[in-house]
């Protein structure tokens, strides 16, 4: 299909105009507003005690969620690819479920299960507070990040097949040794990619976490909750911009990491 120069320029203008108005200008504007008052003001705004504790809480949640996702994600992928058992289709469907569930619905479901009046409400009476505590935020984040590791590792497992694993086990390697020396090195890039996606989503999750958090500044606010409460509760627009810029910086770093990893994954 040969388009005339005029038509091509027209299409290009519409496409770029849409992207500029929807993405580029708003992002540039927020950067201008954040750094317009100098880098000092920005640093001061993200160094308040509430901001530091929000960053720490976000990182703590990531630090808990990532190992659990790696462990169960790889186990799930192995079961799906290598296992021959009834109910594999069910597991496949359950792994994709979190993609289809609204973050708010995740939050409500967790409240109805783990909350004081929920099915597992007895835990709270025993003194183990899930909802409105750290465990609730961790569980919410686990729910929304569940598919990433599984879905990145699964195709790699399919691709590498079982020949090398069988060779190792014929030579007397135990299941663990085969896993550590053969399987894990083969899936490492897919796994890393899944971990990066998990980190990005865990840092950025808002809807599910706000439902199960008590949201006290300095105690139970993650970075995303900080952005929200600064804008809504404190009417501190500048503070919200600064915190959003910090989150945006983290997101861009992950995006660059993903691009680099993607290249690496394709070449190895």
């Amino acid at each position: 299909m040969k388009t005339s120069t005029g038509a091509r320029l027209g299409l290009r203008t519409i496409a770029l105009g849409y992207l500029v108005l929807l993405i580029a200008v708003p992002i540039v504007l927020i950067l201008v507003r954040t750094f317009g008052e100098g880098i000092g003001a920005f640093l001061e705004s993200i160094r308040t005690p509430a901001a530091i504790s929000a960053l720490n809480l976000s990182l703590l949640i990531v630090a808990i969620v990532v190992p659990l996702n790696v462990l169960f994600g790889v186990a799930t992928a192995l079961a799906l690819v290598r296992g021959r058992f009834r109910g594999r289709g069910v597991i496949q469907a359950v792994v994709d479920l979190p993609f289809a569930v609204s973050p708010i619905v995740v939050g409500v479901s967790l409240i109805l299960l783990w909350g004081a009046d929920g099915w597992f409400g007895g835990l709270e009476r025993l003194g183990f507070k899930v909802i409105f505590g750290l465990p609730g935020m961790v569980i919410a984040t686990l729910f929304v990040t569940l598919p990433f590791v599984v879905r990145e590792v699964e195709p790699v497992l399919h691709e590498i097949g079982t020949e090398q694993e069988q060779a190792a086990s014929t030579l007397g390697a135990s299941t663990w040794q085969t896993f550590w020396r053969i399987t894990l090195p083969a899936i490492r890039w897919g796994l890393t990619y899944g971990v990066v996606l998990t980190i990005a989503r865990a840092l950025g999750e808002f809807g599910a976490v706000i439902m199960v958090s008590s949201g006290f500044p300095g105690v139970s606010q993650t970075l995303t909750l900080l952005v929200h409460s600064r804008y809504i509760d404190d009417h501190n627009t500048y503070g919200a911009y600064a915190a959003a810029t910090l989150l945006m910086g983290l997101a861009v770093v992950t995006l660059l990491g993903m691009t680099a990893l993607d290249r690496k994954r394709r070449t190895t």
């Binding site: 299909m1 040969k2 091509r8 299409l11 290009r12 929807l22 993405i23 200008v25 708003p26 504007l29 927020i30 169960f72 186990a75 799930t76 296992g83 109910g87 597991i91 359950v94 479920l97 979190p98 569930v101 609204s102 973050p103 708010i104 619905v105 939050g107 409500v108 479901s109 967790l110 409240i111 109805l112 299960l113 099915w119 569940l146 090398q164 190792a168 086990s169 030579l171 007397g172 390697a173 299941t175 040794q177 020396r181 053969i182 090195p185 950025g204 999750e205 808002f206 809807g207 995303t224 952005v227 929200h228 804008y231 919200a240 911009y241 959003a244 989150l247 945006m248 997101a251 995006l255």
Partner: protein, 294 residues
């Protein structure tokens, strides 16, 4: 990795670590057979506690007053209005995505201009940015402090912009690879037979793109109906006007009406599942048609 593999495969096993292990025990007592069911059991337990039990609690709660109670909760005027706003806005945004996403993918594949790679990288940004950041970012241009005096906060167009932002990559990223692979000779043949550009696009290009386009649009719709973070600041949460279902659900939890929240949640889930199910059926059918054609 290569070194490990080599050492395991080497015939001279005396130098490898693996071979220095005790000989393999009797096959009937090998661990995989014992370990695998255990692993599957653990995975099943993990997925059940994490995903299935919460959703079961949700469904059971929504039916706490029977099917009639569920129906009353979903058809309460404000609840129904929020579902209507959600579906209509999501459908509109999905259509905008279908048109603009295809156009952007086309420009990225068939056009050459300086800075194309930066534009291409920009497409992924909405997936990488946290939704609340999307909200703040859009408010800075279209909110109360708008430098161009466009005030979309607490209006439906505000919802459109927020949802268009977060769903942008779906159509672009599903159509783009198909467009790269598309056979341009067929297009040229159509043109040489006298077809206009529009006819060529409609009769040759669009049918090729259709499966990817429909799947991208459907995913964008499914994402848009559940969206919360990006609309929470710009939407205004005005009942019957700009309140979307997720905001209604959140509000019902806040005023301690779990049954209402659960019922509307189940309705929202059902819409998402039906969308994804239709997409899957459609994808299966077009794949079969492709196989038949070969």
């Amino acid at each position: 990795m290569t070194t490990t593999t080599a050492s395991v495969r080497r015939d001279d096993t005396s130098t490898t670590e693996v071979a220095s292990l005790p000989p393999r025990p009797d096959p009937s007592r090998r661990r995989p057979q014992l370990g695998r069911p255990l692993g599957v059991g653990l995975v099943g337990l993990w997925l059940s506690v994490l995903v299935l039990l919460p959703l079961a609690a949700l469904t059971v709660t929504s039916l706490g007053d029977g099917v009639g109670g569920f129906w009353d909760a979903v058809t309460a005027p404000v609840a129904l209005a929020s579902l209507r706003v959600t579906v209509l806005v999501a459908a509109l945004v999905a259509v905008v995505n279908a048109v603009m996403g295809t156009l952007i993918a086309w420009v990225l594949v068939r056009d050459e201009f300086p800075g194309k790679r930066i534009v291409n990288a920009l497409i992924d940004l909405p997936f990488a940015l946290p939704t609340i950041v999307a909200s703040i970012v859009l408010l800075s241009l279209y909110g109360p402090n708008s430098p161009i005096h466009v005030h979309l906060n607490a209006t439906q167009p505000g919802l459109w912009v927020a949802l268009a932002f977060v769903t942008l990559p779906f159509v672009v990223r599903s159509v783009q690879p198909v467009l790269i692979e598309a056979d341009r000779e067929v297009e040229e043949a159509a043109a040489s037979l006298g077809a206009s550009n529009w006819t060529t696009f409609r009769r040759v290009v669009l049918p090729t793109l259709a499966p990817a386009l429909i799947s991208g649009t459907g995913l964008a719709f499914a994402r848009a109906i559940g969206e919360y973070g990006s609309v929470v600041l710009i939407g205004g949460n005005i009942p019957r006007k700009t309140q979307v279902a997720s905001q209604y659900i959140q509000q019902q939890i806040e005023i301690d009406r779990p049954l209402n929240a659960a019922a509307v949640s189940v309705a929202l889930l059902a819409i998402a599942f039906v969308t994804l199910f239709v997409l899957r059926v459609f994808a299966g059918r077009s794949q079969r048609r492709e196989e038949d054609a070969q």
